[in-house]
Structures are given as C-alpha cells and as structure tokens.
C-alpha cells in the first residue's frame, strides 16, 4: 500500500523523457490495452464501430458500471464489497414489488431507503466495528439473498401493467437520442469522479485506504469515511437495481447473482489495488467498458459468450501483473 501512496501525486509533471514515457505507458497501460482492443475488433468486424453497436454495448454495461462506481470507493478505502450482486437483486425485487402496491413515485424512494439502510448496516459493521470486510460482505451476500427470497416468497416479480406506467423510462427510455441508462451512468460517474478526485472527502478515502493508522493520527475519522463509502456503494447498487428493474419490468430473485465478482473484476481491471489507496473513477469506467467491448467484440467475431470468461481471466491477470511489475521495476516477483 505504500507504493500506491507514493504513486499518486506524481501526476502532472511536464517534459517528455524516456523514463517518463515508460512510466506513462505503465500507468496508462489499461487505456492503451483498451485502444488496442478497439482497433483489433474494428479491423475484425466493421460493425463493431457502428454507433448503434457502441451505444448498445455501453447501455448493457451501464448496470455493471454503476455498481462498479460505488465499489471503487469501497476498494480505495481498503475494503471489499462482495454483497453488491445480492443487494442489487434485493433492490430490483423490492422496487418491482412496491411499484404495484405504492406506485412508481413512492416505490423508488422507498427502495433507495431500504437499500441504503442495508448499506448502512454493512458500513457500521466494517467501519465502526472494524470487522473484516471480506467476511462481513460474504455474510451479507447470503443474508440479503435470504431477505430477497423472503420478500418475494421465492416467486419471480413482475409489474402487472407494463404499458400503463412511466417506470420503464430508466431502463428503456432515451433523452437527446442517448439511452437513459447511459446518461445515468455518465452522470453518476461524473459526480462521483469529482467527489473522489476534488473534494476533501475523496482525499480522506485515499488516505484511509493508503494507510489507515496514519490517517487516524492525522485526524481523519476513519470509521465515518468507510461508512460513507458503503453508503455510496449502496446508493449505486440501488441505481443499478432501478435500471435493471425498469429495463426488464420483471425479475428473478437471482438477477444480480455473481455480479459482485464481475464488478470487482472491472474495478481491478481499472487498476485499483485491493490493498486500498489507489484507483480512480475514470479508470474504473475504462475497466467496465473494456469488459463490455471485449464481450461484444468476441460475439461479433462469432465466438460464444463463454469465451469472454477465459479472455477476461487472462486480461485481469495481465493487467494487474504489469501494474505491479511496473511499480517494483521487475517482471517476476521476488518471492523465493
């Protein structure tokens, strides 16, 4: 984590020397890989760069992306959140159920409230009680799944009157010719990006994740910072659940199952260290888009969807490996 702390303020120096180009390449490796992938897929299939295709990819990545934004905060603060997939199922089921009983205008804030309440519980356990986040969120993954099943009675949830409601706007609508999920993703990314990079709170998140003890000694309220990160994560999950519910207008209990690890993969791909203290919203967005475009590109060149699993595996390990290798200055680990 100390390397991560040193690595951050180095940005913004002028002048192009060989060493600086090397560091630039190492630091922006993920961006370069992204561009290479785009070029490769474009050459392989001319439909790839079609605006409709691109919008389609971003739209289908939006749910994962929105969740990844929140998890970025949690990961930078030095913790993990494995419960986001389960929590997303919960918010989707809840908002669909409440839609028919309370109406959409009340269902949405109610769902956000409930999801944030669960986020607050996790934040309390990890932040204030300082329990290990991996196990807490693993436990919450199971517990929230139980809550979701209890809420739905194990049944699929459907909106009864799919035509007569404006609820579909979040998942299916367009504004200014751009699908609403993309707009929500972009807006949230912009806001959270500014919060993380430009506000005192953002600096605290980095400080807590980089060196929690040092942060405490310099007067940062560590518990409160971690707590807030989990609230942000829960807010993002609620937004993702809203998009998911509105897009499909009906859902199974397990809609978000397994997404926690995909989200984490996107965040890691964006270069956030699991040790905390490093990562940015921008890089996470790139990580999400890489996953989305690879999936799409592989489908377009005629490969089955599951090939992307293998490709993702290779990319994740390469990305993290090269990142570490650049920091330590040698390719192989010094482990004997």
């Amino acid at each position: 984590m100390s390397e991560a702390a040193q690595e951050r303020p180095a940005r913004g120096a002028g002048g192009l020397t060989g060493a600086k180009v090397g560091t630039f390449l190492a630091k922006q490796g993920i961006l370069i890989a992204f561009i290479l992938f785009m070029v490769g897929f474009t050459l392989a299939n001319d439909r790839f760069l079609d605006p409709d295709n691109i919008l389609g990819v971003i739209r289908s990545s939006a749910i994962l992306g929105v969740m990844a934004l929140g998890v970025t905060f949690v990961v930078i603060s030095g913790n993990l959140d494995l419960s986001v997939g389960s929590l997303m199922s919960f918010s989707t089921i809840v908002v669909l159920d409440l839609h028919d009983t309370l109406g959409p205008a009340l269902a949405i804030p109610a769902m956000f409230g409930l999801t944030l309440a669960i986020g607050a519980v996790i934040g309390f356990l990890v932040g204030y009680l300082r329990l290990n986040s991996l196990i807490v969120t693993l436990g919450m993954l199971s517990a929230i799944h139980g809550l979701t099943l209890t809420w739905s009675g194990g049944q699929n949830m459907d909106i009864a009157d799919k035509e007569g409601t404006w609820f579909s706007v979040f998942g299916q609508g367009t504004a200014l010719g751009i699908p609403v999920p993309i707009l929500m993703f972009a807006l949230l990314a912009a806001v959270l990006g500014i919060v993380l990079a430009k506000t005192p709170f953002g600096r605290k998140v980095y400080a807590v994740g980089g060196n929690g003890t040092a942060a405490t000694f310099s007067g940062i309220r560590r518990a409160r910072t971690v707590f807030t990160c989990y609230l942000i994560s829960a807010f993002c999950v609620a937004t993702a659940g809203l998009i998911q519910a509105s897009r499909s207008m009906g859902s199974q209990n397990t809609v978000g199952q397994g997404m926690e690890l995909e989200v984490l993969a996107a965040v890691i791909l964006g270069g956030a260290s699991l040790m905390g203290g490093s990562g940015t919203i921008f890089k996470t967005v790139i990580g999400v888009l890489i996953l989305g475009f690879i999936q799409n590109g592989l489908l377009l060149i005629g490969l089955q969807f599951y090939v992307q699993f293998v490709v993702t595996w290779i990319i994740i390990i390469l990305a993290v490996w090269l990142d570490i290798a650049a920091k330590r200055g040698r390719l192989l680990s010094p482990i004997a």
Binding site: N132, M140, S142, G146, L147, A265, I268, I314, P334
Partner: protein, 334 residues
Amino acid sequence: MMAPGRLSTFLRSGAIWAFIALELAFFSIAGQFLSASDTAFLTWDSLLLLLKQSAPLGIIAMGMTLVMVNGNIDLSVGAIFALAAVILLDSMTWPFMAAMGDWSLPLAWVFALLVGVALGAVNGFLVWKTGVDAFIVTLGAMLGFRGLVFMYNGEQPTSHLNWTLVDFAEAQFLGLHTATWFLLLVTVGMWWLMNRTVHGRNAYAIGDNREAAVNAGIRVGPHMMINFMIIGFLAALSAVVFYSETGSVNPNDGMLYELWIITAVVLGGTKLTGGSGSIVSTLGGVLAIQILRRGLNHIGADTSTVNLVIGLILIAVLFLDRQLNVKGKEALRI
C-alpha cells in the same frame, strides 16, 4: 500456536463444537413442535446422510484451510470442481476408454484428479511468479476455468452413468457411505499434513509472518504452489466422489461453492490473515453449516431463512472472535 491467552484459545477451538451441540439440541427439541413429519431430527440414518451430504463441501474445505492458513485464498474451487466433473464423465465415453470396460473407471478418476492438480498448479504458479495477490489470481481463474467448462461441452449438461461407479459411490462400509469415508480420509490426511510434516509447519509459518519465513530460509513460492495443487486435487476429488453417483454435470455446477466453503472455514476459526486455523475445527464448521441447513429444513423453514441465518451467524462469529482477540493483530486485511 502462540496463544495470547489460554482461555480465548480454548473458547475458540471448542466453540464450534459447542455450537454444533447447541444446534442439535435446538433442532431436536424444536423439531418436536414444529416439524411436519413425525420423524425425529436425530436418527442414525439422518446422521449418516448428514455426513454424506457434508462431503462435497467438506473435502474442499480441508484444502481451503491449508491455503488460508498459508495466507492465500482460492476462489476458483467451484470452477475446478465443475471441470473435473466434466472430465470424469466425458473421459469414460472416449473410444479407447469405452473399450476398456470397467477398467477405465480408475483411469477416468485419475484424469479428473490430474486436471484438478493442473489447474491448481496454474493458480499457484501465477501467485508465485507474478506476485499478484491470490485473491485476484483465483478470482480471474474462477471466470477463466468456468469458461473452460463451457468451452468443453457448450451449455449442455455432460452425462454418463456407469452403474459400477454408482454402486461404488452408494456403497456403505461399516455403515458409512463412500463419500463420508473420503471426507474422513481427507480430514485425517490433511490433519497429518498440517500438524506432522515440515510442509505443514512451513505453511503456518509463511501465513503467520512471510518475511520471517523468508528469513528463516523457507522457500515461500513452492510451498504456496504445492498448496494450490493440493486444493485443486481436493476440489477434483470432491467432484469425482459426487458425480460418480449422480452421473450428470451442468456447466454451472459448483457456482458459489467457494463462498460456502470460505464460510465453513471461517466458522471453524481459520484466520483470513493466515497463520492460524485447524483442520478439525474446519470439519466442525462444515458440519455446523450442514446441520443448520438440514435443521432449518426439518422445522419447516425454507431456503431464504437458511441463507439469512448463515449470513448472520457468519458476521456474529466474526464479531465474537474479534471480541475474544482484542489484543490480536490490529489490521485485518485480506
């Protein structure tokens, strides 16, 4: 191991068995009033069945204990489990194997187990040579290995029922099922490995303080790689024992196994930070979860309650453990 206080150590190692006793008592009594069926919760047959059903997760949990004591984690076991099962069932239909008749069965087992060891070796080698955290390596592998399962046979289930194998898997020797015997065998073997061999000692040492282990001349990398090969082997063993009986595997089988297994291992008191944990307590953790599932089922609770209760218990255990070890390590990180 370097106990800060005898009492807390005793409480920790004994707690899981006390918890099991509590569960058994609770479900036996509650079952009298709440159960729909007239059968008691604790009968000899249901106990045997409980042990048998604990085997698939239990066998892998033993390997997870070793890997976690060593300071790593393996999230890819569910995918290894599935791939080994696919290899086991598919290899029996290969022409030269089919020509061998029942003699192909041990060979099919060997193939599946070798695949498990090989996948574990890939993980271990990557952790060793790249220096990437085991969490990330095996998270990637969880996706990648799952992709291999799909690439092998598409989205179709792989099926092959061999009656000799089914008879073997369903056999009962001295009352215990084949799967139970494997669980016990693995438990004893892993206990021996961790407590009576140099490799086991070193695994604890590396997990407790890697720097010190390096300075003491322990080769950290090969030890980690061997441990990943062992958990790969055990994941495959779990698959061959289980699928010998059922004879059909879906490409999604074994998903979320890693989470259940980690839950069981943590319930048994193994630390995520490494350096502390015991095989016997892990067995307790596995049994505790299985009893909870069966017990809640017995008193008429549905799956949702099981998930809820297990999640909450996991967090409660973590909290209690922390309270008992206030003077323990300050920063609990993965």
